[in-house]
Symmetry: C2
Subunit: 146 residues, 2 copies
DNA sequence: ATCAGTGCAAAAGTTTTGCACCTAT
DNA sequence: ATAGGTGCAAAACTTTTGCACTGAT
């Protein structure tokens, strides 16, 4: 799903309710939209966002990413490699993380897990869930066989 | 489920097949068993294991935890707080992670997710999966209401 | 004799924080 | 004037690595 201008506007509106959308934050959002399917790290967001705002500081990126995650605009994703990755929150989905090449694949399988949980563990209020499958993608499986 | 001697022996046997069970590694395993339900970080394992082997070094703990995870004796758990946590691998289960107090609750809900995946995404070979639910436990929900 | 394993210290890497400055309101 | 936001540098933290040493086989 590619980024759309409408998408960005929605996020702008959402963001402006709570805090200022400075040019720095705009550049960071745009970078995230450009890299929507790439699950970038903070450093990667920083590199891309600097193309539009060269004086940007890395600390500003971290602060903005924290803020966006707090607003629910972003999700944090941990692929197990020691760095936090970020993705635009465009609905629930799951990740396939390849232990060979590190690539992250997205799948969207409707799962009624939270409903199941709510009925069984009603004293825990689920805000969001994370489902990750670790393993080997087709490319890496072929490489292993050789 | 409390630690049992049988449990430790099983792990010892499993471990000795592949590498030496040194006193350092024994102390680390025992610490993990003592903290079985606490999902300790490497630093926490280090502190507890040092009670039984005071000269233990932190690097040794990291190396042993890596090895045990590689052998499948341990699972790594990321609770989203920037530190890797470890737990004895005693079968598939899921985690409820409280965003208020940081406590981690375990649930064991049989889910046939991997079978579902295998049928739908047959070109990705799943080694293991991680399902985490983030939210607020009952204690923290009550605190929020006040 | 060899080789895996260890402890210490240093290094590496990511993320956070302190602080002075800036900029909208 | 004030409060929020920024950039830079330093700090904090977790994890990894280099190296000399040890101890078992």
């Amino acid at each position: 799903m590619p980024a759309s201008a409408g998408n960005l506007d929605e996020i702008r509106q959402l963001t402006e309710k709570e805090c200022r959308l400075t040019p720095q934050r705009g550049a960071i959002l745009q970078a995230l939209l450009e890299m929507e399917d790439r699950h970038p790290t903070a450093e990667e967001v920083y590199q891309v966002a600097r193309r539009n705002w060269p004086s940007l500081g890395l600390a500003t990126v971290y602060r903005a990413l924290d803020m966006f995650a707090g607003l629910g605009v972003l999700y944090r994703l941990d692929a197990g490699d020691g760095r936090i990755r970020y993705e635009i929150n465009d609905g629930p989905h799951q990740h396939l993380i390849c232990l060979g090449c590190g690539r992250i694949f997205e799948i969207r399988e409707p799962l009624e897990l939270e409903g199941l949980l709510k009925s069984k563990y009603s004293d825990f209020e689920v805000t969001y869930s994370s489902i990750r499958f670790f393993g080997y993608c087709q490319d890496c499986r072929l490489k292993k066989q050789r």
